[in-house]
């Protein structure tokens, strides 16, 4: 272990992005996908938060198939009961949430959802869930606010069909947590911490700078307790969940954990995984590294560096007499935080988050009339309240990076505007 945790999980998460901002930006990303593949369609917040809707959009963003709007509308019809979290209650749930049931099922197992068609058995389970949510909020109110914001739906699995699943979630169907038919409120609270941490990670990973394709090139982590081997992304997710569970365990104090609880071992496992992650942090991006350092500790002398590669610059000649416009197939969505997310309907689709300078620059351009760098520079000096030399440097970096990703393109023009 390098050092003791220096901050709580909810404080570190909020420092990277408050939950409300993270969700707002997540919605902007999914709505951008709708702009790309179903232009003109508008989705309510409820619909764009819906796990099955996110699953369907995610498949298209992965380059798998097309967007079926009727399927989205059908998925949104799943009935739920609100007991502090929305619990799937629809008798048709087995088909409506087929995807997460299939993805998390152990081999040879077909978990069945417990629903209102199960009568009093469902009612009894619902009461335990309600009490579990209340207990979570009582034991760790800030953590509950932080994690439950990312849990849109909870599904209960019939105990005789769950195949040993205690709790589960899926990166492909973000927002839904699946748990075994509960026996105690603390089981529910622990499952919401565990899987809520994963849901938080899924949202962080698509909105902030967490992991990229290089994570697939790293050696697998092998844990000491079951000798399971995980790729880096899963290792980071597990570390994050164990860290949240360890913090919850401290808050829970003398509450007796259940027989399958991870609370007694969470700190030791978080430490084991965190130490391994620190040894491999060169492939983590800035925000995941910040989370790791903030919650696990930093190696001595650790510094964040600024990219010298992605901050592409343009030659003076291009800047002196350059004109740019948006690439014609680029679509832009702006979150209420001000951040812009842009997409191109390539195959597979390209999705990009822009920093504040790049968000501003794309807002000045369109895909028809070229805009001169000269004009951008004069506007940038005013917008950024800075002198010309500094504004020019920022513009070079920003325009160069946007052009290198083909989000904007140089344009010929017969005369300066």
């Amino acid at each position: 272990m390098v050092g003791s945790p220096v901050a709580s999980t909810h404080a570190l998460h909020a420092a990277i992005a408050p939950a409300a901002a993270l969700i707002d930006e997540r919605r902007a990303l999914y709505r951008l996908a709708i702009d790309l593949f179903a232009p003109g369609a508008e989705l309510s917040d409820n619909l764009v938060d819906h796990p099955i809707v996110r699953y369907e959009i995610g498949r298209v963003l992965a380059g798998q198939g097309h967007l079926d709007l009727e399927r989205l509308a059908g998925a949104a019809a799943v009935r739920v009961r609100d007991v502090g979290v929305a619990v799937v209650s629809d008798p048709a749930a087995a088909s409506l949430i087929e995807a997460p049931l299939r993805i998390v099922a152990p081999p040879g197992v077909c978990p069945e959802p417990l629903t209102e068609s199960d009568g009093a058995r469902f009612g009894d389970a619902l009461e335990i869930v309600a009490e579990g949510v209340r207990l979570f909020r009582e034991i760790a109110p800030q953590m509950a606010d932080d994690l439950l914001a990312h849990v849109s739906m909870l599904a209960l699995l019939k105990r005789e069909t769950s195949g040993g699943v205690v709790s589960a979630s899926s990166r492909y169907v973000p927002g839904i947590v699946l748990i075994d038919e509960p026996s105690t409120p603390l089981e529910v609270a622990e499952a919401l911490v565990h899987e809520g941490a994963h849901e938080k990670f899924f949202d962080l990973a698509i909105v902030k700078e967490f992991v990229d394709a290089r994570a697939e090139d790293v050696d697998f982590f092998e844990n000491s307790w079951s000798h399971a081997r995980w790729p880096l992304e899963q290792t980071f997710a597990a570390w994050h969940a164990y860290t949240c569970l360890a913090q919850f365990s401290t808050s829970a104090g003398t509450e007796p954990p259940g027989p399958h609880s991870l609370l007694p071992v969470a700190r030791a496992r978080a430490t084991e995984i965190g130490d391994w992650l620190l040894e491999h942090e060169e492939v983590l991006l800035s925000d995941s590294r910040r989370l790791l350092h903030g919650l696990h500790g930093s190696p001595a002398g650790a510094v964040m560096r600024r990219s010298e590669v992605d901050c592409a610059t343009l030659c003076d000649e291009t800047l002196d007499d350059g004109h740019f416009r948006l690439h014609p197939d680029v679509r832009i969505r702006r979150a209420s935080t001000g951040r812009a997310v842009v997409g191109r309907a390539t195959q597979p689709p390209g999705i990009f988050w822009l920093d504040s300078d790049a968000s501003w620059v794309v807002g000045q351009l369109n895909d028809e009339t070229p805009t001169s760098v000269e004009l951008l520079l004069s506007q940038a000096c005013e917008e950024w309240q800075t002198i010309s030399d500094l504004a020019l440097r920022r513009l070079r970096t920003t325009i160069g990076s946007l052009a290198s990703w083909s989000l904007i393109e140089p344009a010929q023009t017969s005369e300066k505007e």
Partner: protein, 63 residues
């Protein structure tokens, strides 16, 4: 909790389906302050894709 919300139109073909993506900038690393950050989360398709906590007797895949 969920409000059915019928989308308004049928999907249209992507504007330039089949176009290739720009190459990753070589050497782009774990850095701060990049003007453009590519989201490749959806393109990565790890096997399984589930994080499942099983009871200890069945726990080989536990996270």
């Amino acid at each position: 909790m969920t409000t059915p919300n019928e989308p308004l139109r049928r999907p249209q073909p992507p504007h330039s389906a089949g176009a290739s993506l720009p190459p990753l900038p070589t050497g782009a690393g774990p850095v701060i302050g990049q003007p453009v950050s590519s989201v490749d989360w959806f393109r990565r398709m790890p096997t399984g894709g589930g994080t499942v906590f099983l009871r200890p007797a069945e726990a080989e895949q536990n996270d």
